[in-house]
Amino acid sequence: MQNKRNEAGFLTYLFVWISLIVLTAFTVTVAALNLGKIAVLTALSIASFKSLMVLNFFMHLKYEDRLFHFMLLLSVITLSIIIGFTFFDISFR
């Protein structure tokens, strides 16, 4: 039933956790630099990268069926459309 593929073990989890902590320290440090316009982009990129690590390893998405990837993609696209079209509207007012 399970364990049909080589799933993440303790060391993988530990490595993911260390990376997440390092990225947190990194994003706090970068925020102190006052990057101005690209500050939002940098912070959100780091956050998204952290989320992907949590999704893929802690939430096992990497080892799941394609269907799960497809479902996630569909929800992300839906949210992107909602946010994208709202901004499309407010930026041309």
């Binding site: 989890y13 902590i21 925020a31 959100l44 956050a47 939430m59 929800s75 949210l79 946010i83 407010i90």
Partner: protein, 206 residues
């Protein structure tokens, strides 16, 4: 005559189905928080300076500490599931309890963080907020609603984690049937992901 006892009692389970159900629930949660993120980002685009000024007053140290607490709780949650897969019920229960403690510590910090703000007269509908710029008020209202809804999710998570802890002790969750624990883990990690976005948006981008 067919006797009922001649049928083997078979438990019908659908491992993948259970997980799909949980993921679908998480997607609705994503859209719930997504709506709030949308409000945040549109008003941030409209009042960048007010958001900049207001966000400076949030405590980055507490925010960072809470981020580390939640990330670490995700690690212990993952190890808890790993333990039950390897057949260690005691290990699984222990790491689950550690996860619960990290969750409680997160809420403990949140309590002090909010308490400090409220002591300074900053809370939705407060008098101190009624005299300052409405766009700064907007930031604080979003801060309280979004971190509040997130804290509520952490609280609900702790509650479910505790139920799983009891089920583990009762051997209802065991090495052959642990999808409940896995789904609880999915929820816990999801709450972690929401915080991963809330943290920079409220505390860091100033």
């Amino acid at each position: 005559m067919i006797s009922i006892t001649s049928f083997s009692v078979e438990k019908h389970t659908d491992y993948t189905g259970s997980k799909i159900g949980m993921w679908l629930f998480l997607f609705t949660e994503m859209l719930l928080f997504g709506g709030l993120f949308l409000i945040y980002s549109t008003y941030r685009a409209k009042y960048p300076i007010s958001f900049h000024v207001a966000a400076k007053d949030l405590n980055i140290q507490i925010g960072t500490l809470n981020t580390i607490l939640l990330l670490t709780s995700s690690l212990t949650m993952a190890i808890s599931i790993l333990s039950i897969k390897n057949g260690s019920r005691r290990g699984s229960a222990s790491f689950l309890m550690i996860t619960i403690i990290f969750g409680l510590l997160f809420l403990f910090n949140k309590y002090f963080e909010w308490g400090e703000k409220i002591a300074h007269g900053i809370y939705p509908g407060s008098e101190a907020l009624s005299v300052i710029d409405s766009s700064i008020v907007l930031f604080y209202n979003l801060y309280f609603v979004m971190t509040g809804l997130h804290a509520l999710h952490v609280l609900a998570g702790i509650f479910v984690l505790f139920i799983m802890f009891v089920l583990l002790l009762k051997k209802n969750i065991n090495r052959h049937d642990f999808v409940k624990l896995e789904n609880t883990g999915l929820y816990w990690h999801f709450v972690d992901i929401i915080w991963i976005y809330l943290f920079p948006l409220f505390y860091l981008i100033t």
